[in-house]
């Protein structure tokens, strides 16, 4: 009998409904790679189900979703003027609201005590329901004078802090979130909170400077971008998302309403934000992308995609809300399809979260195994590189840390590790270095004295003299006269023809070579272009164009202003004036490979000195070559800059005209071929 019972039980178990499929995700997942760019990684979240029916109820244009403390999902079902309370598996628990109490609900929030706050845009109020669905309060338009008599009050989203204060996002009101203290008669208006800032463009600045007040009043005003959605975390921090088109899209507001987050990645069309228990922030884009940030605002994963009609689980038509539970499972609301897509973190994602948890708790040594495992799964995962680097750094494995930081693209960490290694090396070899330096000095002194007696340098002096007498060498080395005595140099270039085009070309070629080396072969800490990106032709064109444009324009202006400089003299003078930059670049190239961020000041200093010096020499060359006064030289320099701008504009116009002409010819040819030849 017992055996039969077991058999029946097992067969019943076999007849249970099938589970979610283990299918390929319809989207790719990206993370930050060590070179700062985004690169592919394993799936972080996979869609496990799509919920469209809730006990026979469907959603119509749902606009917001929150996870209540009872573990249920609260969905603002805007089209049906209600809030649906459903389990995370999609079973209907109850309905709140309806057309009798709500006009057009667009935002929902649930407090710990189970009260449900609904932002009713056309109802011009935030309506509060108790856990049984009865209306217990209503917050209409504040009457406080500071709110502003004309300020609009159309609540679209709402969050509530632990003290019961409401933060209402009112559409069209750009002063910030409306902060309302709880209480009878619509509560008390506390003020505006966390307004977005405005960006003043260059054009606007010019407009402000030259327009009259009347003209300004007729132009479109600069208003801050409106908040699209918001959420509040367990610590009471409010997160807002706005369509600013920059990193200010996501803001984390402290109690004073100040933003304390600077994300390193942004989305152009954020629709909703939510925070997980581990502090990670999720921003859902209207276009169907989900962005997961660390609590510090560093992008961790980007995944998801737009549904172009494929009907694949995990794609979206138009996202309007996101919620996350304690297992980091995501519930993402699609406004157009009226569906809730559920995403579960993968093994890989959980591993990353666990590693971050240990790392943020300061348990670097414990996190090491996790980071190593994550790097096995994705060697380019920058966060893992940084995490492993920190762990190794604290273990004293600076070489390992340096490699890990390098792979993770963490320049600060790399700098610290490099500093330690360099320090160790100096400690070990300081004695040797001192002895070698002293030996060199002694040897030099001995050689000098010996030379006095034996004059062995007489054997190489003729050769050196012969080299120095080679015309190109002589004419190029004349450039050093510019540094020593610019006036004499100018005279020599202009009157005595002591140098020429060839010398200028040699110096510019040298400058180009050093510029390229500085750009592409600097040390990791001071390199300004990404690895693997080279553009020698572009660099050459940039240097050649700027140089020739400057010389040409300067010559034209000098001619008009009766200067004496010839085109050749300006070519040579300009090239010679760049000698300090040339040396500065060489010094910088050497320094970038041995300095850390602690000594980066030296790099800047070299820049300032070299470019300042070259600028001064250039000014003096224009002055002396033209035999101008200082005042006239300043005017010439300014006119040269202006002429260069005119040339650039002219070149652009010509380019556009030629492009259009080519397009026209191609179009005519295409028409002829397709209409008459191939059809």
């Amino acid at each position: 009998m017992r055996k039969i019972r077991i058999a029946v039980l097992l067969l019943l178990l076999l007849a249970l409904p099938a589970p979610a499929a283990f299918a390929q995700t319809p989207y790719l997942t990206y993370t930050r790679s060590g070179d700062g760019r985004m690169s592919r990684t394993q799936t972080a979240y996979e869609p496990i189900r799509t919920m469209v029916k809730f006990g026979g109820e469907s959603l119509k244009m749902p606009s917001d979703i929150r996870l209540g403390f009872d573990g249920n999902l609260y969905i603002c079902d805007s089209g049906n003027k209600r809030v649906l309370v459903v389990t995370r598996e999609g079973e209907l628990v109850r309905e709140i609201g309806g057309s009798k109490t709500l006009k057009s609900p667009t935002g929902v929030f649930v407090t710990n005590d189970g009260n449900v706050y609904v932002a009713d845009e056309n109802g011009r109020a935030v309506v509060v329901f108790d856990a049984q669905g009865e209306v217990i309060a209503e917050y209409g338009k504040p009457t406080h004078p500071l709110f502003g008599a004309t300020a609009p009050y159309k609540p679209v989203k709402v969050v509530v802090d632990r003290r019961g204060n409401l933060y209402v996002n009112s559409t069209g009101n750009t002063n910030g979130l409306v902060q309302i203290a709880p209480g009878a008669d619509g509560g008390a208006f506390l003020g505006y909170f966390g307004a977005n800032t405005t960006k003043v463009s260059f054009i606007t600045r010019i407009r402000k400077a030259i327009f009259s007040d009347e003209q300004l009043s007729r132009t479109a005003g600069i208003v801050p971008t409106s908040v699209v959605n918001m959420s509040i975390d367990a610590k009471g921090m409010i997160f807002t998302v706005s369509r600013t088109g920059d990193v200010n899209m996501l803001r984390k507001l402290n109690v004073a309403g100040k933003n304390i987050l600077q994300p390193d990645w942004y989305d152009n069309y954020p629709a909703a934000v939510a925070t997980a228990q581990n502090g990670n922030i999720y921003v859902a884009s209207q276009n169907g992308y989900i962005n997961e940030y660390t609590s510090e605002g560093e992008i961790l994963f980007v995944f998801g995609a737009y549904d172009d009609g494929q009907q694949r689980t995990g794609l979206f038509k138009s996202v309007s809300g996101i919620a996350v539970d304690e297992t980091d499972t995501l519930y993402v609301l699609d406004e157009q399809s009226g569906a809730v897509e559920v995403f579960a973190p993968t093994e890989f994602c959980n591993r990353v979260h666990d590693a971050f948890q240990l790392f943020n708790d300061g348990k670097y040594a414990e996190s090491k195994a996790y980071w190593t495992d994550i790097l096995r799964m994705n060697s380019m995962f920058s966060h893992a590189g940084v995490g492993l680097g920190e762990a190794l750094y604290r273990e004293g494995d600076y070489a390992g840390a340096m490699t890990a930081f390098r792979n993770g693209g963490a320049a600060e960490g790399y700098s610290d590790a490099f500093w330690e290694i360099r320090s160790d090396w100096l400690h070990k070899h300081m004695g040797t270095i001192l002895i070698a330096a002293a030996s060199l000095i002694v040897c030099a002194a001995l050689l000098k004295r010996l030379n006095h007696r034996v004059r062995f340098t007489r054997f190489i002096q003729p050769a050196l003299a012969a080299v120095a007498d080679v015309p190109i060498v002589r004419k190029t080395s004349y450039g050093f006269t510019v540094i020593k005595n610019p006036f004499d140099a100018a005279y020599g270039i202009l009157r005595e023809r002591k140098s020429g085009y060839a010398a200028a070309a040699v110096l510019m070629a040298l400058y180009y070579a050093l510029y390229v080396m500085r750009k592409y072969f600097s040390g990791f800490l001071f390199k300004t272009v990404p690895d693997g990106v080279y553009n020698l032709a572009g660099d050459f064109a940039a240097i050649a164009v700027v140089y020739l444009l400057f010389v040409t324009c300067c010559y034209l202006v000098s001619t008009i202003t009766e200067g004496e400089a010839t085109f050749q003299s300006l070519c040579v003078g300009t090239a010679f004036a760049l000698i300090p930059v040339l040396f500065g670049t060489a010094i910088q190239l050497a320094l970038t490979n041995v300095l850390t961020y602690n000594e980066s000041f030296f790099i800047t200093l070299v820049d300032v000195v070299a470019y300042g010096w070259s600028g001064l020499l250039l000014f003096l060359m224009i002055l002396y070559l033209n035999d101008f006064t200082i005042k006239k030289t300043i005017a010439t320099v300014l006119l040269t800059a202006f002429t260069a701008l005119v040339f650039a504009a002219l070149a652009f116009v010509v380019y556009m005209l030629v492009s259009q002409l080519i397009d026209f010819v191609v179009s005519v040819y295409g028409e002829v071929v397709y209409r008459f030849v191939r059809t």
């Binding site: 299918a23 790679s33 060697s379």
Partner: protein, 743 residues
């Protein structure tokens, strides 16, 4: 009723449900009937067209509608909706679903495909009945078009044959045939009342349960057999976030098969397209789509289509018809199944047997010893100060060390595939034009030595050979052989790389074959005995070459010849190949483990695995990309697939400045332990099943049960908690192998 009796009845009920994988409703027509009764009670308007020991085929002459009846049970499956249906569909739909065969035609150059049917379009039919079936010529006098359809019954196989030679177009300048639907409503279901499911060939395979969808789905599943026809599709479907492609393409329909299973009658069919597959698309429609209450699945065969020809770069188009009809006959089988076979496992086995009869697996070494696939990452290119520079990820010497190390660890047999073995590396090395091993990896001598050593260690080393993709930056002259779409525009796919910017092209199938001929000689001269062919294996397309239209059948023929040529004298592994190429392969690699996760999919099923098990060695997609590695391992156990690892000696961080950014995890040092442990564990499973055929597969809850022909059963628990299956308690994410003797 005693408790024992009740339990036994309940158990019987559950066994039936379990075998079908559905919670079945009571079966209305499943009562036992004698064959005499069945023949005596032909449905009204129908007559017996053919009869076999197990099945009777009825025909209704006016609409060519069929009914298939099981002689033993009397269970029936209809090919059309009866005339008395009360649905509110419009007249066009009603005519469609009451006709056995529906044709679409093109009128002049009008961009439309009107339908003609056998219900409300005037037509003339001439029947010819013979033993085992009938033939019928259908003539539409208003269009001047006729076609001939032959339907035969052989055992459980109903075969519909429409030869192209039987299609007659009397006024081709006015009316021409566009496409055919062959018994589109075969086995249809009304609001899911039959219970059961439709099988769709999405990747590994998936089923869509028959249930009332309450209008959830708005569009049907449509898949061109063997993948999207890139010569016709004019737009790229990439969803971009900045420069990042965010969407992942859906899995291809690699096999020309679909199916329908009814739970109430325990009857099912697997439909296999024998001829016309390269010009067919499979459509599965669900109740609610087009406001119809039916679930139905069919194949659509296209002979001609209309397209827009752009006349200028920015504006102007003319509508054109393809130059000629595609050249193919339609031959489609419906293999009817009943009882315990009326499920996806039965369908897969029916397809497998069909392929056996076709001799598809004659060449494959089904008994090949269990091995693991190791794909080596060879050379890739990064930008240098001038030109590009090599990034050597695994030199031939290092690959030799890896094989030796694995061998020493107990991995007795390996299938090696070398990617990026030639100059220009993984990305720029496409297509493979000659035997030119990378100097940075060790050159010709290094590669020869590696292959020799590997062979001595039971490792077959296949050289990856891509003969369709073309990176113009490295093969400028080949750009003249780029594939052009039917509108004569060059097919281009954006490349989002750092090194090779711009677009990727495809070679014409003629050029692919030409390159294969040249490579064949080159490989023979250099002793290359194993090749892994990619690119052409995943593609079938219409295209234009020298202003002449070539259809998808032409491309398939060229690709078939390409595979045949390269595999004639050597071991040939095919990458994710379409089914029509399987006959040329020794093994299949990079096979999909899952499906495309369509919302209407109830779950995925290991259809390909069941088809291939015991017939052809097949290897799964890379372990490296899997975010849930344990679950993936269990899927390998479930499907009997062999694991594949992408391996490099160097850290893939070195690829950061290359275009191979999708290789982010491959370092051998970090994978060594995993390869060894997976090999050893899966080897034991393989030994237990003896690499045989799968006879039964069921999935209930989180657990799967797989039965092999040698009696071995494998129970797998994919869940996160302990489950009971087959009388065993299985821990979370674990499995159990039980031999035929119960041990």
């Amino acid at each position: 009723m005693s408790g024992r009796r009740f339990a036994a009845l309940l158990a019987l009920f559950c066994v039936i449900c379990g075998a079908l994988g559905v919670s079945a409703a009571a079966e209305p027509e499943a009562s036992e009937k004698s064959s005499e009764e069945a023949s005596a009670k032909a449905p009204e308007g129908y007559e017996i067209a053919a009869r076999s020991d197990e099945w009777t085929l009825y025909l209704r002459r006016d609409t060519l509608a069929l009914i298939m009846e099981n002689n033993a049970t009397g269970a029936r499956m209809r090919s059309t909706v009866p005339d008395d249906d009360q649905t509110k569909a419009n007249a066009k739909w009603k005519a469609f679903y009451r006709s056995g065969i529906v044709m679409e035609y093109i009128q002049g150059t009008v961009m439309d495909y009107p339908q003609v049917n056998l219900v409300d379009t005037p037509n003339e039919k001439v029947f010819d009945f013979f033993d085992g079936g009938f033939s019928c010529e259908v003539y539409y006098p208003t269009l001047g078009i006729a076609y001939q359809a032959t339907v035969t019954l052989d055992g459980n196989d109903v075969c519909v044959y429409i030869p192209q030679s039987g299609i007659r177009e009397e006024r081709p300048s006015e009316y021409t045939v566009s496409s055919f639907y062959v018994y589109p409503f075969m086995g249809y279901s009304y609001l899911g009342e039959n219970g059961g499911y439709m099988f769709i060939p999405d990747g590994q395979g998936a089923i869509v349960e028959l249930e009332d969808n309450e209008g959830r789905y708005l569009s049907p599943y449509t898949a061109t057999v063997y993948g999207p026809n890139v010569g016709i599709v004019t737009t790229t479907s990439d969803t971009l976030l900045g420069d990042f492609v965010m969407n992942q393409s859906a899995e291809r329909a690699m096999i020309p098969v679909y199916g329908m299973a009814h739970a109430d009658s325990r009857m099912a069919y697997a439909s296999v397209i024998e001829e016309g597959d390269v010009s067919a698309a499979i459509q599965a429609s669900f109740n609610g789509v087009s406001n119809l209450p039916f679930d139905w699945i069919t194949a659509k065969y296209t002979y001609r289509m209309m397209y827009s020809q752009q006349t200028g770069p920015s504006s102007g188009t003319v509508n054109l018809r393809t130059q000629r009809a595609k050249r193919f006959d339609i031959r489609q089988h419906f293999f009817f199944l009943s009882g315990d076979d009326a499920n996806y496992a039965g369908m897969a086995n029916a397809y497998g047997k069909f392929l056996d009869e076709q001799g598809v697996f004659d060449r494959a070494d089904a008994a090949r010893a269990f091995d693991v696939e190791i794909d080596f990452v060879g050379e890739e290119r990064k930008n240098g100060l001038i030109g590009t520079a090599a990034v050597a990820m695994t030199t031939f010497e290092q690959a030799e060390s890896i094989i030796s190390a694995l061998n020493a660890d107990g991995v007795a047999q390996i299938l090696g595939v070398y990617k990026g073995w030639n100059e220009n590396g993984i990305t720029g090395g496409r297509p493979t034009v000659s035997y030119d091993p990378s100097g940075a990896l060790g050159g010709k001598r290094g590669l020869s030595q590696f292959i020799e050593t590997a062979n001595a260690l039971n490792t077959v080393v296949c050289l990856d050979t891509n003969l369709s993709e073309l990176v113009p930056d490295t093969h400028r002259m080949l750009a003249y052989s780029a594939l052009k779409k039917i509108d004569t525009g060059t097919y281009r796919r954006p490349l989002y790389g750092k090194v090779y910017e711009g677009t990727q092209l495809l070679l014409t199938p003629q050029k692919s074959l030409e390159l294969a001929a040249s490579l064949d000689k080159d490989y023979a001269a250099n002793g290359v005995r194993s090749v892994s062919l990619s690119g052409v294996t995943e593609l079938v397309t219409d295209y234009s070459f020298q202003n002449t239209y070539y259809d998808s059948g032409d491309s398939a023929r060229f690709y078939g010849e390409t595979a045949e040529l390269l595999g004639e004298e050597r071991t040939l592994a095919l990458n994710k190949p379409n089914a029509y190429l399987w006959r040329y392969a020794d093994m299949l690699v990079d096979m999909p483990i899952g499906s495309s996760s369509y919302r209407y999919t109830t779950r995925e099923v290991p259809f390909l695995a069941i088809t291939l098990a015991g017939r052809m060695p097949f290897y799964a997609e890379y372990v490296n990309d899997q975010a849930n590695s344990r679950r993936f391992f269990l899927q390998l156990v479930e499907q009997g697939a062999r694991p594949a690892f992408l391996i490099s000696d160097e850290d893939p961080v070195a690829l950061m400045d290359t275009d191979a950014l999708d290789i982010y995890s491959s370092r051998f040092e970090l994978y060594r332990e995993m390869i060894v442990s997976w090999y050893k564990e899966l080897f034991v499973v393989h030994e237990a099943t003896q690499g045989g055929a799968i006879t039964r597969h069921a999935r209930e809850g989180d657990c799967a049960t797989v039965k092999y022909e040698n009696g071995t059963t494998i129970y797998i628990n994919f869940g996160q908690t302990t489950s009971y299956v087959g009388g065993f308690a299985l821990d979370a994410l674990s499995y159990k192998v039980v031999a035929a003797n119960g041990k």
